[in-house]
Amino acid sequence: MENVDFSLVNWSRAQFALTAMYHYLFVPLTLGLSFIVAFMETLYVRTGNQEWKRITKFWMSLFGINFAIGVATGLILEFEFGTNWSNYSWFVGDIFGAPLAIEGIMAFFMESTFIAVMFFGWNKVSKGFHLTSTWLVAIGSNLSALWILVANAWMQNPVGMEFNPDTARNEMANFWEVLLSDVAINKFLHTVLSAYVLSSVFVIGVSAWFIIKNREYLFAKKSIRVAAVFGLLASFLTVATGDGSARNMAKYQPMKFAAMENLYDGQQNAPLAVIGLLKKNKEELDPRKEDFVFKIEIPNMLSYMAYLDPNAYVPGIHDLVKGNTEHNIISYQERIDKGSVAIKSLADYTNAKKSGNDSLAQVSLTNFKANYAHFGYGYYANRDMNELIPNVPLVFYSFRIMVGLGMHFILLFMVVLYLTRKDKMLSNKVVLYTALWSIPLAYIASELGWVVAEVGRQPWVIQDILPTIAAVSQVNSGSVQLTFWLFFVIFTGLLIAEIKIMTAQIRKGPDELKQTEINHV
């Protein structure tokens, strides 16, 4: 295709990535802190201890600062499917729109209604009603995550649908298959659990700061305990679901998996490179013996990770692109040819139907159906095949940094839990500063998780079926470029404001909060 406006596709991608990454700076804290606050308030209601109320209100005030900006960036994301990915919105809107609508009806109203009770209801409703509201905010925000992640998972592994050639789109055939697909369940769990980890790291880091400053020791200790237990449990489950994600990836998105592992030539008993430094190589498709400058490997681990079998064969990038008859992998060229047939047959079918040529319509339809699994590859006829390979180093390094940081958090949770039990938290400056500096690391790990998921699946908007070049809206790229910078300036300004306000609020501390309350009640 000579006709693709690359600058438009790339700016549209950049804008979506910008919005998604900013949005995800705020979402995980909302998802996890809402539960942490609910635990704390539960302790308050059960024990009647005012200290727990003070703790609850302090973390709630931070929750509020973070919440609004997450809502705002989320709105943009929802509408960008239409503004920047118009073809996509029609091509799969029949399936993709439903979770978005359900999210609004089921989750957003719950969240936004009960958040009002959480903030304004302290003196107006009963303790039980207030506590229930806090829990409903946590459940509501996590429900909204469920629906949007179901939608995202469906893009990675499109199931429960059928293409309707008369409407030129995919139509939902089975709602439960969409909702309960293994990718959807795994993605939801892995994402929300990692959000709980981030929130726990946040609570521990902020509490550590109070201890460093010699303030609020009891408050900090209590907060750390709740967060460390929650964080540790969530961490183990994040590892387990991450493992599930890798297996799903190997099964449904082998190219993403190979890219994540920098695996060019497939092999049996594939080792996992725990740490590695990649060779720079512009000619991605040239066969090479060595892809690493340096690496530390665990033998058979990659095969085990992908298929729970240390002897299993894991295909590499070359095998996927060039095909491998021994392992029943068809080449990208073949897939491109089949995809082109599918696209042409769709055109033939439509034209034949218009002109009343039923037999041609029937033949074209049969041809189309036989080749539909490769539909998206058809858009790469006469194009550079390298476009079908994601950015390997970015995905490779992102994955490793994310996992490494995840391990670091587990260790952190264990150490602080031990130290608070032994009441040794005060004296250990190294742990305190590590906890504090782990806050930005948790955000980096979360963002990198999305980099692996989303950069790794390029160029597919819908795996194998719709690439970015055929999903975009036809706006001039100058407009998208301009809106990109508008969003960039606004988001960045708001982020700076958020961080400053958050920091000021933390400096004020829970004590200040108590004082104002005492003064006014």
Partner: protein, 390 residues
């Protein structure tokens, strides 16, 4: 139960839901209207704090309704989502920008170390109120006045030539901004803007006990009601007298029919009656507090609010029902979107219809919650005793 419904029934059911959500959203934009009145009605810092807090407790409801409207429209009429959002790019993007800055402005306005300063956040609230209402009104007006686009699903199979494989293509390079320059569209935009201010004022006099604000509100109720009525009438009378985008039910051919929207009104008596009732309620909600303030100071917002929902609801039914193209293209009539050619599949509409059964439940808990925490008038003394103040 929904499995027994015909495709067209479900399409109509979803048009009703989307229209109702849009109508609720227009009513809830009283929050936006109020944001443009902070300095008009509040002369001291305390007074502005009361106004901001009153609105701040409701912004999320408006916002959530907008998000849900977007999701529901996407799920039920995806071709509209792709054609309009992807085509009228600038109008929708500006609406989004206007809403992004709103959410945080409440939360950050009076916070310590807020980077941009209180005045900036107040300015952003104003921008949201001004641009948000006018542009939404303008966008809705194009349902009656038409836009410049073409839809060709065969484009998906275009692999060569100078065209991208994109189904919906907008004509011209203004990407929707041209709609804001159309006088008729703009008059609906301004009608929505002034209506949102009228509703905000009615809400304030229902909820605030500060006599100074009340006094000013009464004055400004009249100042905003007059332009609202003028712009609204200009729009409604114009579309009733102009040609509309009709669909031939037999061959789905779209053609221009003189007095189409007037015909729709006459063909659907229930819609006509509710439309008139809605308009009368809005007028009553404005006029009654103006003439007999003491007696009607609390009822104004109820009458005008219910009236607004009814009026907008019925207007959108006029645009979509009775063989009418709800999102017409002037550039290529046959590309116009109807509730039949732009909807989701029968299966998806059925699934979504089950989800829609949750709506009454959602409305019930919203009602219950706000009844429990919003039970008395608000003043600065109450706000000073609160732990969460905007």
């Amino acid at each position: 139960m929904f499995e027994t419904f015909s495709y067209i029934t479900l399409q109509q059911y979803w048009w009703i839901i989307v229209s109702l959500l849009a109508a609720l959203f227009v009513f809830l934009m009283f929050v936006q209207g109020g944001q443009t009145l902070l300095y008009t009605l509040g002369k001291t810092e305390d007074q502005r704090t009361v106004l901001v807090n009153l609105l701040g407790r409701k912004w999320e409801l408006t916002f959530t309704t907008l998000v849900t409207f977007g999701g529901a429209f996407f799920a039920s009429f995806p071709l509209f989502y792709s054609t309009s959002f992807g085509g009228a790019y600038w109008v929708w993007t500006l609406i989004l920008l206007a809403f992004v800055v709103q959410a945080v402005s409440y939360e950050y306005r009076t916070k310590k170390d807020n980077f941009l300063g209180q005045k900036t956040y107040e300015a952003l609230l104003f921008v949201n109120g001004l641009l948000g209402t006018i542009l939404v009104g303008t966008a809705v007006a194009t349902f009656f006045t038409g836009s410049q686009f073409s839809v060709n699903k065969l484009n998906l199979t275009v692999l060569t030539g100078d065209q991208m494989p994109i189904i919906s293509v907008w004509k011209g390079s203004a990407y929707g901004l041209e709609a804001a320059l159309n006088v008729l569209n703009l008059s609906l935009g301004l009608a929505v803007f002034f209506l949102s201010r009228v509703l905000a004022i009615l809400y304030f006099i229902n909820r605030i006990s500060d006599s100074e604000i009340i006094l000013r509100s009464r004055k400004h109720l009249l100042y905003n009601a007059i332009p609202f009525v003028v712009f609204f009438l200009v729009f409604v009378i114009s579309i009733m007298l102009s040609d509309g985008f009709a669909v031939n039910p037999i061959d789905n051919n779209v053609f221009m029919e003189p007095y189409k929207y007037l015909h729709n009104l006459l063909a659907m008596p229930l819609v006509a009656i509710l439309f008139v009732v809605g308009v009368l309620l809005v007028l009553g909600g404005i006029i009654l507090p103006l003439v007999k303030f003491e007696k009607f100071q609390s009822t104004g917002i109820w009458l005008a609010g219910i009236g607004t929902v009814l009026t907008v609801f019925m207007l959108l039914l006029l645009a979509g029902f009775n063989n009418t193209a709800f999102y017409p293209s002037e550039y290529d009539l046959q590309s116009s979107l109807t509730i039949q050619n732009s909807s989701s599949s029968l299966y998806t509409l059925t699934v979504m219809s089950y989800v829609s059964l949750l709506v009454p439940f959602v409305l019930a808990y919203i009602w219950y919650v706000w009844k429990s925490i919003d039970n008395k008038k608000i003043d600065i003394a109450e706000l000073k005793s609160e732990s969460h103040v905007y």
